[in-house]
Symmetry: D2
Subunit: 391 residues, 4 copies
């Protein structure tokens, strides 16, 4: 049995967080992820704009009260001024605030790890890219499903031509937690996600459709050239889409379908990808992430397992444990944090290199995501007509 | 352990067959299906228009040489004239001949069991309906997947409201046997299915897309009100579609997607249906037909198995064996033959009743299938624009 | 898509049946099996010793009343005397009658297809072997699970050395239909199977343990050299074992475990085999019989599917349909009948050859099964001590 | 979506570690586990008896060089003397050292978290229990599979009587990493585990058989009253068992089988448990730990998922994420560390209470495990005869 991998060389990175007060979901996930591989130490936070909640949440996290903030701009400037200020900030606020918070930290020269979607408008996304470049900051976007080792294996198998020319992409992300109008009965997670003022113009599309689209893009290396989108609000009275269907066309003639739904009764967190090439196909499901199916025409389907010998190198590098010892959601999320630590250390050592060499999905992926959302909304306005995506 | 069911009362029905000579696929399937429950005896056939092949195929089937024909019209008239003439004819010729063959037998007053799709044009389909009515003949269409006991269970569960209002339909039928241009190297099955002159204007759409559409309709009891279809020929040089994607909209606001492909590397016979309602969802896959998944929001998913106690009555009636004793493709196909025997016996006893009471998908289902094909071809010509289906 | 296979050359064989009246289970299964491939025609039967039930059951099967018997000895002699007498008799009576019925037909020179276990005592089994040899009759024993194409593939893979030297055999057969004492409330199937006078001294052991043991032997080609058996009656008051555990030791040092239970709540017909060799392992489950798993050390597990290219030849020969078109229990059972038809035709053509060349498990397999039962009962008497099996 | 749970109240516990230098497996696992829930801070260690390796391993972990030791006795006494000395020590050395290391820390009054098996002899295990009691120390044993939420759900379902009286226990743990004699070619993990001087008298039995036995005991609440064990070394030349088969008998008449193997080609980490009661059965597999199957006689099998509503309370308490967000091996292992933190804090607050109230498997479980090993070795010497276990 091989040894699990251990820490990278160098000190722990100092991490700050904006958002993520008690009772939230994604902030706690980021903390698990940052902690797992021991590459970060959470030292400062603006956990809530409500002073009391910020303080109490920070105390529960055993943070130094001196470094608990209620204003993110304040936090950005004061942390930038400290000799032991944070190296990286995690942004886990609702979507409509991503742009303002990220801007503040980028302007303070602090690297950013931001939850998806990047922003609520394409214009804001483009601004962030400009800011990051101007201030020479790294920007990671937590398209966390790309942290799964077998998703990385899938990507490398496609790149290596194992599937042949890609013909068909089938991607879907089905949940049922919004199958009833729980936003009307006080569910905080549901409330902001179904409110255009907080979530932006895309509901299910932005929340999980963006994950599905990124997963397909990440594995295939292809972005659709045009799409046709039919968005629906299947729960009566809901103001944002809770159900998304798209047809995809690719420049090489390939075809695809994307389905995302938060009202699909009986589904938990059903993100699933199938990619078919002229020679073989791949199948992966997030709920059973430790296996990846490779089916070559005329041969028995093969069940590749995380950690096994013979997988592409990237899958091994993203894996902690031997096969048969399941890894999960936290581990995959943590992989992005670990990768980002790599990038930040290289940057700090003056080896920042090209953005293209970075390991974590970033501003370019985020902007492509916004372009897709934007095109989908345009298609929807045109009765699901075809809309071209920028090259 | 309960006893397997046995034969219906009455003599075996006399069966004829047109098409189905040696080397074919679907003719042999119909023969297995007709034989399994011991309700039919194959006594006459026009197995091929090639006299020698017809004779040799008939001899291999131990048929009386006196009742081997090379011309289907000849067969229809001579069998109609015999006192012991056939009760039912099975039509298993390529699609473009369905209309002519069925017409001949209907005009001779002989009941017809026809492979799908009904015909290659809607007009021909409507003519057959008229003929069947005029000659008071029964007409079964082998949408064989509706013969699976758990598909019938699914239909009854939907009817009984177990899923709540239907919201989402996801149906797909993926194969890979045409993933390479095997029609160019002498494969007979591939050759006629990819030739517009023999298969009609729809390739994959007619061959398996029609099965997927029927399955969804059969279980949900709903036909789309409009569709948008993107058909492709993903293998270069192919003249008919080998890949179909559709978006579906239903009158009650439900949405759906249909995918059919014969070039999806690694897929064998992947017909899969998922139906989501406001309360629960169903999932069934043809390759593991002895289980049906029912997932109610907030409850553990349930694995219903063929033959188990507590299933809807229709599932029990279509089942031969106790649970855990797998039934398969032949059994489901045979169910349609058994059901048709029921209908024919009732008709012979003067209890024909309304077409609506018949058990086997027939002309109405076939015509709806042709309307869908027709709409899909129209949508395709309009760059996958929306096309309404007749009510 | 390849053509399904069709009938063997030659006339249909004339089949008789003893046992299998209305309401029974296994008789109907044999009839399905005999009918499916169109190699037999049921023409005579002694369906019940009760004259009225025999007549009514025969009428329902559309048999000629002249060939319905109430006494199996009478049937044997009269059928043997007819020019168109039966070629083969199927014996589907309770275990305690196998010996008497089989003897009568062997003495009349009629080939026998008998349900398992062979007899209730080893002595009777040996007598039948002697009789069959003396009268030059073929004898098939319906260890029907060996008719599954992928079981045959498994056997060939082992023979070809794909697994390396066999190390471990894990076989089990779990059901729950006797989990409650239903024999006390009128269930006919349960009643005779739990009654030592009708079932013999072995309950679950004879009924399904014998299937599990045969499956392991059939695939591995190895019979244990010694066993230790712990039999239980887990339902209070039951007179025969309803739960069997065994440890197996093989001459080459391999080890194994056999578990059979009819009181395992929640199990339907869970016959499962795993064989581990020094290089690779195989896994097959009766409830999903169209897939076979081959796992080579350090390689991805492979899912072999019935009908796929590249399988061992024996699997192809036992398969009717292309991959993805599930076959099931009836098809596997029918395979033994088809194989027996092969053997009978060869015998009738004077090519009987050596017993070893026959395709259907027969007297030797049956006798080994009785030796195992006998050894298990001896082990049970010795507090599950080790008992050697004859070489 | 519910919020993931967060840290317990109070400061992080100070953790020490003995063993776990670079290249090892289990030490790194314990570190992940201790870190995940943020309840511990690793501050001191004797990572290796080799001074250089100890130092280098410690540096990689960013430990204070002042608190890196090469002698565990030295570490115990010096840490006990510090005002900020460790609260808990993790023991991750080879089995033969467990007793000596644990003794040193218990005598120094430091709580112990020890890898399994407890010791290599029953006598040593009993001594540790005495020491722990004398010094009022807590002792946790990392039977980590009991940390999985659905294992806890299973235990509660049994306790609540959902299965009815337990009848059958089927437990197995199959791996293949020792399928070849890799101990002869320098594999460190294999070397000590197959060497009686380091691993003790039990090989596979102690290494993973002990996990299987504990899992069965943990879920059923029952310990066998007698066992029969057949141990083998299926790889030629191996000095310890690499394959274990056992039959189990329970006081209530239930029966069971235990299989553990490290030479089962194609198996990764196949720990699987099935428990059958008079009413229903449970099934759980470590490789897909986020689902638990409950099958009630005559009802559809239910797939319970980690995190779902309606699970027993203990499962919810051990769960971090909503359903559909897979947790894995590290999370389950971490659960024991989190539980132990609970116990230690309660102890520090003077609420130690009875050992029985503790959450983590401890000395009693460890001693029962040694009794089982001892009985299995005795059975082996008696040709797999039955050996009673202490009540």
């Amino acid at each position: 049995m091989s040894a699990p991998r251990e820490a990278l060389a160098g000190r722990r990175l100092r991490l700050g967080m904006v958002g993520g007060g008690q009772g939230g979901f994604i902030g706690a996930i980021h903390r698990y992820a940052a902690r797992l591989d021991d590459e970060y130490e959470l030292v400062a936070a603006a956990l809530s704009s409500d002073a009391e909640r910020a303080l109490e949440s920070g105390r529960a996290l055993r943070l130094d009260p001196q470094r608990l903030y209620t204003d993110f701009r304040d936090m950005a400037s004061r942390e930038a001024a400290r000799p032991d200020g944070i190296d990286v900030v995690s942004i886990v606020v609702p979507n409509h605030l991503h742009h303002a918070v990220a801007s503040a930290f980028l302007e303070a020269g602090i690297h950013v790890m931001c939850d998806k979607p990047l922003t609520t408008t394409l214009k804001d996304g483009l601004r962030l890219r400009e800011l990051a470049e101007r201030h020479d900051c790294l920007f990671g976007l937590t398209h966390n499903y790309s942290g799964y080792p077998l998703v990385r294996a899938a990507r490398e198998l496609v790149e290596a031509g194992e599937l042949g020319e890609i013909r068909i992409v089938q991607v879907e992300y089905a949940q049922d937690w919004l199958a009833r109008p729980i936003e009307d009965s006080g569910d905080r997670q549901a409330a902001w996600r179904t409110d255009p003022a907080l979530a932006g113009p895309a509901g299910c599309l932005g929340d999980i459709g963006s994950h599905a689209a990124h997963l397909a893009e990440y594995v295939t290396g292809m972005t659709p050239s045009e799409i046709s989108a039919d968005l629906s609000s299947l729960v009566a009275g809901r103001r944002l889409d809770d159900h998304v269907q798209m047809q995809l066309r690719y420049a090489n003639g390939a075809r695809g379908m994307l389905w995302a739904s938060q009202v699909a009764s009986g589904e938990e967190n059903g993100l699933r990808l199938r990619v078919y090439g002229a020679r073989a196909s791949l199948r992966w499901q997030q709920e059973t992430p430790n296996e990846l199916w490779l089916s070559v025409q005329g041969e028995p389907a093969r069940r590749l397992t995380r950690g096994m010998r013979g997988l592409p190198a990237a899958a091994g590098a993203a894996s902690r444990l031997p096969p048969g010892h399941p890894e999960g959601f936290i581990e995959a999320f943590a992989q992005l944090y670990r990768d980002f630590a790599h990038d930040v250390r290289a940057h700090q050592a003056g080896q920042a290199g090209l953005a293209g060499a970075r390991r974590v999905p970033g501003l370019d992926a985020g902007i492509r995501g916004l372009q897709l959302i934007s095109a989908a909304l345009a298609s929807q306005r045109a009765n699901a007509g075809w809309v071209a995506l920028p090259r």
